[in-house]
Subunit: 113 residues, 2 copies
Amino acid sequence: MKTKQAESVESQPVAVEGAKDVQIRWLIHGPDGAANFHLRQFELAPGGHTPRHQHAWEHEVYVLEGGGSAVSAQGERAISPGTAVFVEPGEVHQFRAGPGGMKMLCIIPSSGK
Amino acid sequence: MKTKQAESVESQPVAVEGAKDVQIRWLIHGPDGAANFHLRQFELAPGGHTPRHQHAWEHEVYVLEGGGSAVSAQGERAISPGTAVFVEPGEVHQFRAGPGGMKMLCIIPSSGK
């Protein structure tokens, strides 16, 4: 068993095209022995957003603090603490923080990134 | 994309031997189209606990509110909001709530339950 406090895990900028003011912490991943799925924490500054993109793997998201919106081809939905979001494989998606920023968890299969 | 508020998802008692005062909400699972891993929210009343058991699949846990301890063969560790826990496949484990109860997320592969 491994335990770690999220704030003790290195926070790295998400340096991909289309991302703005987003940090990521890899809470549980390959080096921990996690073979199937990985748990990451994202912190979006006010007005920050992830890239609008799509990929072959799914996301399972849980909003921890703050809020904003989740964007898909169907439009934009408000999300807030306690909102769970399932992004299907292949679906266009983006997460946008509101004026208070947003902290959320995002789980991906180990084949994702 | 599917979004749902955790509190709107049915809360069910965990009715397995060794569990005490634990409720579960299946936030994202098979009926949502989640083929690889499932996101559940657990709510433990003060003094409640999950069974002390082991199984072939891993757990990835994130404590949301309250706190308590995570027990393994190596002993008992305090956990609190923001603690991430990785339980390896086959490892004996138990989660125990302190006097304030505990709310946590637990992700399992779709082969688990």
